[in-house]
């Protein structure tokens, strides 16, 4: 009789565990209650024992690979050589199995098979004369965790902890963009080789506003409140594998032109994945911009290690009232999410007022 071994639901915080080692090899006898394999979860390393005795026939998850709770990880049978229905490793096509033919394998393929706890029986190879080569084994092996999946899992954990632990509050302002638009059009016309995007303008102004309102540039860092001396920013960047954060040193310190050039290279080179905290002097204000998609406004989640995040919407045509008359104008809605443990509404309001003023000087 065939018994499917599953990864038990080890519970608590995860439904996945990494296989460290198989304590039994295919063909070996296993007694009920005997350790079959060792796994590692985010909390603990432990042995998984066999719920029934038998012979280990098929191993479905190689050491180093992730197994999912309640999903098959091995097949046992009551007797050592009874025929059994193998469990598929994954949906993808695998090398065809041919019974009863001895096939040679390269040393690398053999080593990989050993590492996976598999035997070469019935495998057919894609090398010369059906030689089993390493890539045949790799196609057999369970898929390794993709960088994207890892990043998504990381983001899930981070935004959850951020929303749970940081008491967010939100404040928004409609900034009059007419003056900034006029200035930017002028700059871009004069400097076609070094055009400024709206994002460049917003980052510049956000940093200057942060310089003007240092009360926002603080952080609750376990113990006493930490104050950052520089008006550095953290820019949220979307990449193929999910979101990244780019550190942007205080733009004004570099000067406008050097800042523009520096930001382009920083986005490409210095993108780091979203992760908990940062080095101690990591910027405390993040900027996230969805304006290029036409989003009118949104609220953002404060990245761990930051105190606030500024969410920028689209620069849009809208009716504005000037001197009691409705005119066609350009505005942009800016929304600040801030950590109420260290920042209050007045500080948030002053920051928003300052950035709006930066964009629309009197």
């Amino acid at each position: 009789m065939r018994h499917v071994i599953v990864l038990p639901d080890l519970g608590q915080t995860t439904t996945e565990a990494k296989v460290i080692e198989w304590r039994k090899q295919p063909g070996e006898k296993v007694s009920r209650g005997e350790p079959l394999l060792a796994v590692e979860t985010d909390k603990v390393d432990m042995d998984v024992e066999a719920f029934t005795g038998g012979f280990l026939r098929q191993v479905l998850v190689a050491p180093g690979s992730l197994a999912t709770a309640l999903k098959p990880i091995a097949i046992l049978t009551d007797t050592p050589d009874e025929l059994y229905e193998a469990e598929p490793y994954e949906e993808e096509a695998r090398p065809e199995r041919k019974e009863g033919r001895r096939i040679a394998a390269t040393p690398a393929a053999k080593a990989r098979l050993r590492a996976l706890g598999l035997g070469p029986e019935g495998l057919s190879g894609s090398g010369p004369n059906g030689l089993i080569v390493r890539r045949d084994i790799e196609r057999l092996a369970p898929r390794q965790e993709s960088p994207r999946a890892r990043r998504l899992a990381g983001m899930a954990a981070l935004v959850s902890s951020s929303k749970r632990d940081i008491p967010h509050f939100y404040a928004g302002i409609d900034a009059d963009m007419a003056a900034a638009a006029k200035w930017r059009d002028g700059w871009n016309a004069a400097h076609p080789e070094s055009r400024a995007s709206w994002n460049d303008v917003f980052m510049w102004c956000a940093s200057r506003a942060l310089r003007d309102v240092p009360e926002l540039n603080v952080q609750l860092d376990g113990g006493p409140v930490r104050t950052s001396g520089a008006a550095d920013l953290l820019m949220v960047v979307a990449g193929a594998d999910g979101l990244s954060l780019v550190e942007v040193p205080e733009p004004e310190a570099a000067g406008w032109e050097a800042y523009l050039a520096g930001l382009r290279t920083a986005v490409q080179a210095a993108a780091r994945p979203l992760k908990t905290g940062g080095p101690n002097r990591s910027p405390l204000l993040a900027v996230s911009n969805l304006g290029m998609f036409g989003v009118k406004e949104f609220t953002a989640i404060i990245p761990p290690g930051c105190t606030a995040v500024l969410a920028i919407g689209a620069v849009r045509d809208a009716p504005v009232v000037r001197g009691g008359r409705v005119e066609a104008g350009r505005i942009c809605t800016l929304t600040l999410s801030a950590d109420h443990r260290v920042v209050d509404g007045v500080i948030a309001a002053r920051f928003l007022e300052r950035i709006a003023r930066q964009l629309n000087p009197l």
């Binding site: 599953v6 038990p8 608590q12 209650g33 909390k43 719920f51 709770a69």
Partner: protein, 322 residues
Amino acid sequence: MSATAITDTMRAGFLRQMLRCRMFEDRVYYLFLQGRMPGTIHQAQGQEACAVGVCAALQEGDVITSTHRPHEHAVARGLPIRSLMAELFAKSTGCCHGKGGSMHLGDLEQGMLPAIAIVGGGIPLAAGYALAAKYRKTGQIVACFFGDGATNIGSFHEAVNLAAVWNLPVVFVCENNRYGASTAIEAVTRVPRIAARASAYGIPGVNVDGMDVEAVCQAAGAAMAAARAGEGPTLLELETYRFCGHSRSDPGHYRSREEIERWKARDPVVCYQEFCRARGVLTPDEIEAMKAEVEKELDDAIAFAEASPSPQPEECWNDVYA
């Protein structure tokens, strides 16, 4: 205190009950490994002599209270295995209609208050139940199970003290398995014997080998006789060991292999089985037949539980009093 005479018939009963406890726990563990058993579990393999020895000394109508680790208490108290297994499967045929689960096993009609999973939470309830029994002169006594970890909880002090002052018919049974979850007892108290804490309340404290079912039964019997005679509570310390981790996801790495092996050499079920065989209480064949019978009882209970219906949404408010 006078010792109860232990007959061979009682011995066969002890072994049978300990086998039922151990095999119940083992089967539950295998069901968990198979992914068939939902929810968390705290198991008690190794502590069978405590549950069985104490429950064997109880009389009809007496009541026990239990902890987050209640499976063996419930089996030893005689709750039907089907109703326990169904409760673990969260089925409506369970002893709490599938709404309590592993940590809340109990059935007052069978002499077990539904277990309280909060550490030390059952101790004031035991004192309260004993107060009711005394007030109503029902003649019942309460056996209150808790672990070593609970003895550093405020409710332990308050409830034991009050039970002592009011001479309540309750026996406080501390199963000292040496670890409160992963914390060694030495790390949380300077008192080398938990039984010694009884002196703080002016009641007897008795230290017992919790791996010896007969010693447990004798000590529990004496304490219960005193409680029934109006002499008030006793604190029993049963020195025992759980062979498994604290819960399903605890491999118990905080204990050395040598320590575990040392205690496993004193396995209360294996040793007592050997004792019964050597003494001629039961032949090896009779022991095997006993085990086969328990396996059948468990097979039946699992099939019953898996075939039982889940509680329906409209049952949500049943048995809710506040």
